[in-house]
Amino acid sequence: MKLKGAEIIIEALKKEDVEVVFGYPGSAVIPIFHYIFDAPFKFILPRHEQGAVHAADGYARASGKPGVVIATSGPGATNLVTGIATANMDSIPLVIITGQVARAMIGNDAFQEVDVSGVTRPISKHNYLVQNISDLAKTIKEAFHIATTGRPGPVVVDIPVDITNESYEFDYPETVNLRGYKPTYSGHPNQIKKACDIIAKSKRPVVYAGGGVVLANAAAELAEFAKKTNIPITTTLLGIGAFPETEKLSLKMLGMYGTYYANQAIDKADLIIAVGARFDDRVTGKIDSFSSLSKVIHIDIDPSSVSKNIEAEIPIVGNCKNILGEINKIVKAPEISEWLNKLMDLKEKYPFTYKDSDTLIKPQFVVESIYRLTKGDAIICTEVGQNQLWAAQFYEFTKPRTFITSGGFGTMGYGFPAAIGAQLARPDKRVIDIAGDGSIQMNIQELIVASEHKLPVIIAILNNGFLGMVRQWQQMFWEKRYSHTDIGFAPDFVKLADAYHAVGIKITEKKEVEPAITKALSITDRPIILDFHVAREENVFPFVPAGKTVDDTIMGEEE
């Protein structure tokens, strides 16, 4: 049967079992929206396209399924750009459909025209400009395939409006054949054997696990590996949740704001087993001094990540779930009790810590209180900056897909729309966005979406009246000149919540912190803003300044 191009898009989404679509109408996508009107999937209308793409990203991270976005041409598409780049840096599967002006108008500076494939080329895994309706179904099939396989990522499909109005036989292909795209899934057996040999002989090994473990659903295999080998595990910011932070062998997060003991472990190690991680500069600090005594086993699905920043002695390209599974079959535990004892001493001596106050609300205390009152069972989203790192440091994560944050791109304004997406993916969980007063104002318009859909997302604003992370750097390295980081002139978040049909609670005293969180957790039919007025000039520690080494770690404020 012949279908309109717009209907073909809807039918293709149905074939892909899409349950939620995030999108915003506009003239180039009116035909598609005509058929979305009675489509069987849930449709979420953000109030800005950036909200749609971050929500789809949060949905994808929480569910493991691809997020789907539809936006119009021109400004609709360019409003997605930050969100596409965010997903691309963190390898999040998204399929993004944008309307384009009619084929005859392309290149004419038509109304709401932009070269979407040109704009998104360096920030997407792949993109398409559909030029013929006969390619439409096949292209959408390929887009889902590319987005969700190999190293996942966002794929953009730009569709001229006249194609959505044409008719063509709908034939959704069962399989995809792309001769230039054949991701490797199983690791090379010789490499796996070599890795196991070197592991068995190691004296000071450490696992460095990244977002790839979460994406590949390999947490069980990682736990099994830890059990078999007794090797301690540190995770990246995106790897948080890949290994329970409550476990003895967990060294928690490493890197610029990571634990002293994780960074010491990496620094002194004779073997790093990198799994689904890419030696980002926020992890390595000064690259020449990074872990100078160690050999590296690097397990990653993306060959271009291997030996990019740090040379790997044993690269193993493939899916880390498969590879860890194979390693677990043959690996022998090394004799490392001395090393472990040393690390456990450090772990006991240098936990994440802060100086609490009787009078002021410390932001870390707020995060700890949220952890306590949610019993560690919430999905935590974050914005970017101090809020993000305090959330990473003071909430203990035990399961993958429960910590949702913009790691690679560091997108302020990500957390709240992502929380909306996460709540749609996991209605059974409490979803909390730990926010700063700066970041939350970047996508606050999405509050009406949470209210409209009765999503009980809690926004916990660690309100210090500053763009806190930049202020911290200004304090420490730029003569305390707080150039344009004081945002103390702020909206009344309680009134703002009220205006958006949400609940707002302002908390100015320490004793109000727990009752406010408890109250928020009792509300299940609308979003809640908790406006915590926290200590203004609190800093994130420990801190390895950019381009420095572990030896330069700043442990805390000088007395």
Binding site: S117, G118, R121, P122, K125, H126, L129, Q131, I146, L178, R179, G180, Y181, D302, P303, S304, S307, K308
Partner: protein, 164 residues
Amino acid sequence: MTRHVISVQVENKAGVLSRVAGLFSARGYNIDSLTVSHTCQEDISVMTIVVQGDEHITEQVKKQLNKLIDVIKVSDHTNARAIEREFMLVRVSAKPAQRPEIAAIGDVFKASTAEISQKSVTLSVKAEPDKIDDLIELLRPYGIKELMRTGRISMLREGESGTN
């Protein structure tokens, strides 16, 4: 910095050239030469890219090229035996009396005379890129008025393999 000759088989589709070129330009690399053409299979094109770069970064670029969905095969000819050819048009200032000298130089390189005017001689030559460099040096004293090269194409010799 060494000169790399990279041969890339790609899908013959719109947008592929900008994806490939983007990998170089995003790193601030200037491409020395780049040629694109059809192959014996009409849905496959081949690009020969000549670029200066240090080993580590070129290695990265090759991996990134392989990562592109539309790239079918990447082969580095830098350290392999390959047949390389390039075509050049060059216009040299020449008074009528100098024409025989210039033609004689051209003969050595099997160049042919494409145009003769009162003020100049234009030669066309197809040769190995190094030979073309040599010819340019020999013609330079006469005064080169205009010069264009197609950029090299490179085909591995029978039985030879490039590196990935």
